[in-house]
């Protein structure tokens, strides 16, 4: 009989207690961040400094060394660098990132040697932007071409020209020495 009454009492007391807690939440403000429109400040601004959002490339800064491409375990980065007459080192021909496949592991960023900025605005050539919006209706929308297609074709042509020029130059330079080489061989 005591257990019987105790059971009833326990059940009602604990239910009472739980209901008091849930009721107290009715009197508190929800913590919801009303993305996308009803926001005090945009969500990316609330993210920490090193947040890994979308993978981006600073095409100006990039030296086209392809270290990131090698550092990526899953071939997300598709890039090519070649010599043109635009700048001294390698020029980017094209740089595509497949966001739909990226796993945001930070390995490419760690591999990148090109850095810029002070402590505050520090970023490497390939870096994570504090932005996460990138849905698309088709899979190809998720491939971002940092050098637009026309530009890339243009650059490729330039690179081919430069390569041809260099080849011609090299041929011209090495032409006299050619017989010598053959002789050596």
């Amino acid at each position: 009989m005591t257990t019987y009454l105790k059971n009833i009492w326990e059940a009602s007391a604990t239910v009472f207690e739980g209901m008091a807690i849930t009721f107290s939440y009715l009197l508190q403000r929800p913590i919801t961040v009303q993305y996308p429109d009803r926001l005090k400040e945009p969500v990316p601004k609330t993210l920490p400094k090193n947040y890994r959002g979308r993978l981006m490339v600073d095409t100006e800064l990039c030296t086209a060394c392809a270290l990131c491409q090698k550092a990526c375990p899953i071939d997300v980065i598709e890039m090519k660098g070649a010599r043109t007459e635009r700048k001294k080192g390698l020029t980017l021909i094209y740089f595509n990132i497949y966001h739909g496949k990226c796993m945001y592991c930070n390995l490419c960023v760690e591999a990148c040697p090109a850095e810029e900025g002070d402590e505050e605005a520090h970023h490497t050539a390939i870096y994570f932007k504090k932005d996460f919006e990138g849905s698309g209706y088709e899979l190809k929308d998720l491939v971002e071409q940092f050098i637009p297609r026309e530009e890339a074709i243009q650059r490729l042509k330039e690179a081919e020209e430069t390569a041809a020029k260099r080849a011609a130059k090299a041929a011209a330079e090495s032409a006299p020495a050619e017989p010598k080489k053959e002789g050596n061989a």
Binding site: V15, G18, I21, T22, P48, N50, M103, Y104, C105
Partner: protein
Amino acid sequence: MTSATREKELKPRVEITQISGTEIEVNMGPHHPSTHGVIRFILFIDGEIVVRAVPDVGYLHRSIEKIAESMPYSFFMPYTDRVDYVAAINCNLGYALAIEAMGGLEVPERATWLRMIGVELNRIMSHLVGVGALPLDLGAFTPFVHALREREHMMDLLEILTGTRMNNNYIRFGGVCQDVDDEFLKKLEKYLDHFVLFLEEYDRLIGTNKIFIERLKNVGIVSGEKALSYSFSGPNLRASGIGLDLRKVDPYCFYNDMKFDVPVGKGIKGTVGDSFDRYIVRIEEMAECEKILRQILSKIKEGPIQSKVPKKLVLPAGEAYHHTESARGELGYHIISDGKSASPYRIKIRTGSFASMTSLAEIFKGMMVADVIAYFASLDIVAPEVDR
């Protein structure tokens, strides 16, 4: 409680064997609201009572171990996140420690502290999913969302620490990938003050609830002996009354400097090793994690976070097994290296959830369908840890 009433409660619910004789075969999963992730049982039920159960695994077999053989050691680190996505840094740590032990790599002191912060935070987050999903499966949605809310706050912290919310890929060989400032440590401390209050409130909301206790006590009893024979580990083993914690028994990182208790199931509401014990052990363990985090905060010092590691890491030939205490029990990495290539010859991952899965077929026998859910939820199994 007198022994007579105890005896009465110990008796399983009536097992009727001759009333209908027809078994219904029902298929639970791989999509079913209560199988977190994709696990399937085939239950043979007679009325409400399970006659036998056949667990079916492999719906999330992603061949992680096989992939490891095809890539350099460092490339495999992001994959370890996905072994147990609820406690990703734990899995990172186990792998990193195994490789460091094998390759004889140094780890700076601050890096170890940071690793421990990540691991303990992650352990709390993982347990929050465990204790949150348990009432969810018993029909109470609100506690689960409250647990999710706390996870959100912790994910904010992890975001500052590691840069991502989940699948952090935080730990590198010989260090961690990024440093934090003092502001983070202050925030963490502030959060811990909040977390203690949350735990207390959560326990009042659901842990003391009569219906909740009645649903869990004396359900799915796994005695200590039996738990060992199933090779349980982690909270599930400790709930069965065996206080085996690898952080105490075989300390790694700086765990031997930490003062913390190992919560053990005492059977406060029913029998040792019942589902309620598994719940309460996780709650207590979260409180212990909070203690550890506070000690870390008082001890952490400035310093480098990454030691020098050769770019192309080739481990000496041989094999090594290194185990750590993950949120779901012993997480062991068995690595075999041929000593020539930069990728492992074989990696085998021992996980806690898979061991827990082995108990299902036997424990489910004679249970009611509702108890099946309660027992399964109390084990806190995560599908990829089973299938990998």
